[in-house]
Symmetry: C2
Subunit: 474 residues, 2 copies
């Protein structure tokens, strides 16, 4: 860590623990310079960083003021217990309503989208990389790749796991057409119709849809908003029931945004290993962490090959490129077969471009900026939610990713409010689509991967007022 | 048709019907000029075309001589009846042995490959197109496409169906990650575990593998080497048994290379419509026809939406790009869902590039050259087979594509000969992998999509001698 990062981290901690509160003025740059012995420019850099994160703002000739509200962290949801009652709504229909249209044609402020805004993606640098790739490669990538997939990409991904202590080799990896495709291939390879899988609750609706299309039963498990799956419950369930696999997002989960602790991850891998239940781990948000380092996946604790680690660059670089991969552990043979039978090979061109983008250091450069932008957005969102959403609103406080889970007063039904919100030009993901059970109707998921501008701020404010209005009229 | 094409076609007909035989001299250019009234240069163009097709060769100062042997067409296989006996061999293992390695690393003369040689593909023009695409598009294709897929590509594909009389609209199409992926999505959408599907016999082994992985039973049907599936048998079977779908390659089938007549296609679609059995039609070779026009698919006769037409550019332009599509008829809703759940979207970049390549006329330009090159190769192959393969060898005579099916003396076992051929540096696809039954052991499939050069000719000759040797030692 540089000196300016150190002092910024120190100030951030004090802002978050309430030493400096919303509206307080921070010590002046000159004062910090005198007291710390650091140069003026170092102190200024620290301030710029805090400003970029949305924690403070500069007021001309007056100094830096805190713009961060801490209240929401006290009011975050605790643990969700799936109900026994099956939901009556056809969530397919709701999902179709929310996601049926192409996002690009959509004129709404769309808090439902699952990818960061185009303005946060390094489009010019990607275009340049595509052209460079064409100049560098004699064959324009026209050939079928090997079944494992592009070796350059697998090498780059393996290099990115070197901090695990138990890093992967290129041979441990198989490329896929995105992360969801990795999960689909995994489920097709290791489960059969009628099997039961365990998931978080609430859980990403795509997992529910995929499981249904494969004829799998889904048992949603109690999930803590901050720590993730309840491991005791997991252990009990797989002791007594026949479970074909566990599917989860370990880092900055979708929709809850929690990040499992390293200890929990290790414990879960141990449970899975002891009972020989494969763990399908989706790890597609961990590159956008807001803390000091990237959280490691469950896979990093896997000695027995029980974890099928699935990831992609769809949430961080180029959704449309369909560049994903899986480290399938001991299931590699059947994963390769399923991939071959269903797709023959991965799309060569985009996989090569992304490998190069990683190799030249441009992916890491981009991630640094993306992390700051997303963290900044999160804090801005929390400020507005604090200010304009109903009194007893609870929000998660994700330490990465770009998804925020909001639990509202139990009298509010976000399915019913979807239409009125749409009329205000606002789209969100209603909580009900994240379960097959009869619950989460008072919840919603917001993406903070949108551009932060006046329109976004206004839309979020209006959504808050709509919710308040609903409550008043109850 | 131009004048030079007309006269070339006339001469080709006479060569093929034996008016001019192997070694005969054609009428001189001067004589043809006098008798037809065509200019010298037009007659020469006709000769160049015949030469490019491998039918004649020029000898300096002597004129043009026929290099084409007609004998093989008399000795083509007739109809294949699947046996009742299940095969005992593990064809998975054989397939792995033949296709397990990446083709690019392979040092053998590989007659087993399923794509044309790189030298036949327009790599420089594709590279240019990728660069042009990057310059033309502001967003580098980073976004998720709509679920149906790239609209530009769907428009181009729809335009290519305008000769059908009953052409498709872009809305009739859904893009996929290659043709096999289209078939996989189709089978996942309209069948369930335990269902039975009908296929040709012999049948592309990828279809057998896919069906097995989905838990489907496969009933191979009697198939004619020239006309395709026996429609009477089809009708009888679907009258009496519960059949979930028929899967076939209607144009220049794999491996037999036959092309169903328009009449057969119409009849098959009628049978399927009457019995409401969906027809999954793989149509991925019809762009490389050797006749005067592209044969139409079964889909062109489909009024009821019973045909799921699957195609791609993998066999003609860029295997690695994974650009395919499906016109799913009345099954569109479930096709879209399966695609979404398993892959979210198609790879945007390569789909956009191929759409542009089609739009700018470069695909058609390329196809013209590819057709001539492949036809030329076919004739060269047939000459060598005629000359060096055992006396009672039968070959198909495909009028398109690049796959040749060879039936040898029943005493020859191409599985047993695989290893000895490998030692000669030669790979082929043994007939046994194209069925689950106990048959086709005296058959093999050769690709004539290789570069035609001395090495290829020598390898093919050696293969023939190996077979002869085997027979002598029997």
């Amino acid at each position: 860590m540089n000196l300016y990062q150190k002092i910024a981290t120190e100030l951030e901690k004090q802002i978050k623990n309430g030493t400096y509160r919303f509206g307080d003025r921070l010590p002046s740059v000159r004062k910090l310079h005198r007291e710390t012995g650091l140069s003026i420019s170092t102190v200024l850099q620290a301030m710029y960083l805090l400003e970029a994160k949305g924690l403070v703002e500069a007021r001309p000739k007056r100094g830096y003021f805190v713009t961060y509200h801490p209240k929401q962290s006290a009011a975050s949801p605790v643990i969700y217990h799936p109900t026994n009652k099956e939901g009556s709504e056809d969530i397919e229909e709701v999902i179709q309503q929310v996601y049926g249209q192409s996002d690009r044609e959509d004129q709404h402020i769309n808090f439902a989208v699952g990818v960061p805004s185009a303005k946060m993606l390094p489009i010019a640098r990607l275009k340049k990389m595509v052209r460079e790739t064409m100049l560098a490669l004699p064959d324009a990538c026209v050939h079928y790749e090997s079944i494992s997939g592009n070796a350059y990409l697998r090498r780059q991904v393996a290099q990115r796991t070197s901090l695990w202590g138990n890093g992967l080799s290129p041979d441990d990896l198989v490329t896929t057409t995105g992360c969801m495709n990795a999960v689909a291939i995994a489920l097709m390879s290791i489960t059969k119709k009628g099997d039961c899988i365990l998931t978080e609750s609430p859980v990403y609706f795509g997992t529910l849809q995929l499981a249904k299309s494969l004829g799998l039963k889904v048992q949603e498990m109690p999930t803590h908003g901050e720590y993730g799956l309840d491991l005791e419950e997991i252990k009990n369930t797989i002791k007594h029931d026949q479970i074909a696999a566990i599917v989860l997002v370990s880092n900055f989960s979708n929709p809850l945004g929690y990040c499992m602790s390293a200890q929990s991850k290790r414990a879960l891998v141990k449970i899975c290993t002891n009972h020989q239940v494969p763990l399908i781990e989706e790890d597609l948000y961990s590159d956008v962490y807001f803390g000091s380092e990237r959280p490691l996946p469950c896979k990093s604790h896997d000695r027995d090959g029980i974890v099928l680690w699935c990831s992609s660059v769809s949430k961080t670089l180029a959704p449309g490129y369909r560049v994903g991969w899986i480290a399938p552990g001991k299931y590699k043979d059947s994963i390769l077969k399923t991939k071959l039978y269903h797709q023959v090979a991965s799309p060569s061109l985009s996989h090569e471009v992304v490998a190069r983008f990683m190799d030249k250091g441009r992916y890491d450069n981009h991630l640094r900026q993306l992390r700051i932008a997303l963290h900044h957005n999160l804090l801005k969102y929390l400020q507005i939610i604090q200010e304009y959403f109903p009194e007893n609103t609870k929000t998660t406080f994700p330490n990465g990713g770009f998804l925020l889970w909001i639990e509202l007063d139990p009298r509010i039904d976000t399915l019913q409010l979807y239409e009125p919100a749409l009329n205000l030009g606002i789209k969100y993901a209603p909580g009900r689509i994240f379960t097959l059970r009869d619950q989460y109707k008072n919840c919603l998921r917001l993406s903070f991967g949108l551009d932060w501008n006046e329109q976004t701020a206004t839309a979020l404010t209006r959504l808050g007022l709509l919710l308040q209005h609903q409550l008043v009229n109850y």
